[in-house]
Symmetry: C2
Subunit: 311 residues, 2 copies
């Protein structure tokens, strides 16, 4: 069997094709559904799971041709028990059918046979959930990553290890300084080392990093030390990260990162549906707007860098 195309190469190719370094976050919650759909679901987990699925299909249809990737947050599905887990797997499938690269935001992190079981659970097979890439936690070291690597290599899949997250308490552990460098910088180095065998033709490895947009200095520092680290960048928009913050991490072709935004894009849905308009069209417009913001910031940055410099 021929190995599938390297995940990082697929990310770069699709990013360039759409001129859009975006992973739209699918984080379904009752307050993002149309008011009618949320009310109809009521307290029923079965109905809510079905409503999440319809919502996700609308959102996916709105995103076609605008973003290369989607990131689906499993926790919201897991909270609904079996019907939720089933809806999660079907949503991944629907996203793949529409041509998206699909990132399962599962943040798993275990070791040995347990880590292997998570790879089995989330990288296809009969279990149903078949993501192209997953988010994973690095706290236990290489033992968490190892069981996934073969699948990444042979099946063109990817991983994003948490390095510097976007949340307020991220510094508590991640910013402790060891040997003159913060922990997240050590972890970024480990991630690069662990992923060495997964480098594609573009020079990026399919083992990437999660670095939040809410800490632009840290993001810029990581990018300058690791010019070919594929980075998933959450925290854009609602959490405070701006377009200027994230473009600093793009490479010369405006690729190499996937900016994740969920609420920023998804919020448009309910407002539109509640006034009788198309949520799908609203999501489409919001994603286009985000793409254009990033492009404008990118152009502004290039102009600034290309212009005359004064010491």
């Amino acid at each position: 069997m021929m190995a599938k195309q390297n995940f990082a190469d697929r990310v770069i190719a699709r990013t360039l094709e759409l001129a859009s370094p975006i992973a739209a976050g699918i984080d379904p919650r009752p307050d993002l559904l149309s008011s009618r759909a949320a009310a109809a679901a009521g307290g029923s987990h079965v109905r809510l799971a079905r409503a999440y699925e319809r919502f996700a299909l609308d959102v996916l249809d709105g995103l076609v041709g605008v973003v290369p990737a989607v990131k689906v947050q499993i926790a919201f599905y897991e909270a609904l028990g079996l019907p939720g887990v089933a809806a999660y797997a079907r949503t991944l499938r629907a996203a793949k059918e529409r041509g998206f690269l699909v990132i399962g935001d599962v943040k798993r992190g275990d070791i040995g046979p347990s880590s292997q079981a998570y790879a089995d659970a989330h990288f296809g097979a009969a279990a149903g959930a078949d993501a192209d890439a997953l988010t994973v936690s690095p706290y236990l070291g290489r033992d968490t990553i190892a069981p996934f690597l073969v699948r990444c290599r042979e099946e063109g899949r990817g991983l994003f290890a948490l390095v510097r997250t976007s949340n307020p308490s991220a510094p508590e552990v991640q910013d402790l300084v060891a040997g003159g460098r913060p922990i997240y910088e050590h972890v970024a180095g480990l991630v690069e080392e662990w992923g060495r065998d997964l480098r594609g033709a573009e020079g990026y490895s399919s083992l990437g990093a999660v670095v939040g947009a809410t800490y632009p200095e840290e993001l810029a520092a990581i990018r300058s030390r690791h010019p070919r680290l594929l980075i998933l960048v959450p925290g854009y928009g609602a959490q405070g990260g701006t377009a200027m913050d994230v473009v600093a991490a793009l490479d010369a072709r405006a690729a190499g990162i996937l900016v994740a935004s969920s609420r920023g894009i998804l919020r448009a849905y309910r407002a539109a549906e509640d006034r009788g308009a198309s949520g799908r069209d609203a999501v489409h417009a919001a994603a286009l707007e985000m793409r254009d913001q990033i492009r404008a910031a990118w152009d502004a940055r290039r102009r600034a860098e290309g212009g005359p410099r004064e010491a």
Copy 2:
């Protein structure tokens, strides 16, 4: 509604009652089932999930009256998709019905609404999985823990945050030294701080730590700095941790830790079943043996400490 008894107090009470600081690990895998059951399940996830459930019921029946707690590894169930997830929830229920404190070994670690969704998913409610306590990852800081704390306080539930794990690559991140102290020691301090409001009558907090038996010096160091930190200790037996290693972390009443062992106890099952004997009885005997080993090591340690000392 009256709040349920503090989780840490429940752990101490049951440990003293059974004179057994043990959490038996339920990590179902095909090679632990009887050969007949494994063969009958074949490649079917549905049949394998059913076989896991029967296996767990046998094991639980064998453990009644010997261990206060069980730790169920969700990854093996998750790998089987929906039938696995359903079997996991039913196994937790069966364990509770038999009087065990039930720890869901889920190692989740997310933030904000996603972390809240994990609490909803694994702390009861309609989703089905209803653990008394969970394992969680500390890499994202307090934001991971916060959504669980209310549930812990009001419902007598607990958490064990990963501090110093038992696996070979644990040192890569956890042993980096910041300000003269390894990261795991910083994390132990954070865990103690985050759990301050969850202290029970015995002085232990319901927010405990995971510290592996395979690194006895680190375990002893953490215990000496944190005399009232509830510790879940994996890595006993098959992974190399000995009874002498773990008793150093017990308090004056031989409580305050839960030594987790899965393969050490579960391995007896298949051997017995395959020769036509009772797997349940074999598990019972293996758990009694582990309890007696720990007691003997505890007695030896007390004698050594009580005896004459030479400088």
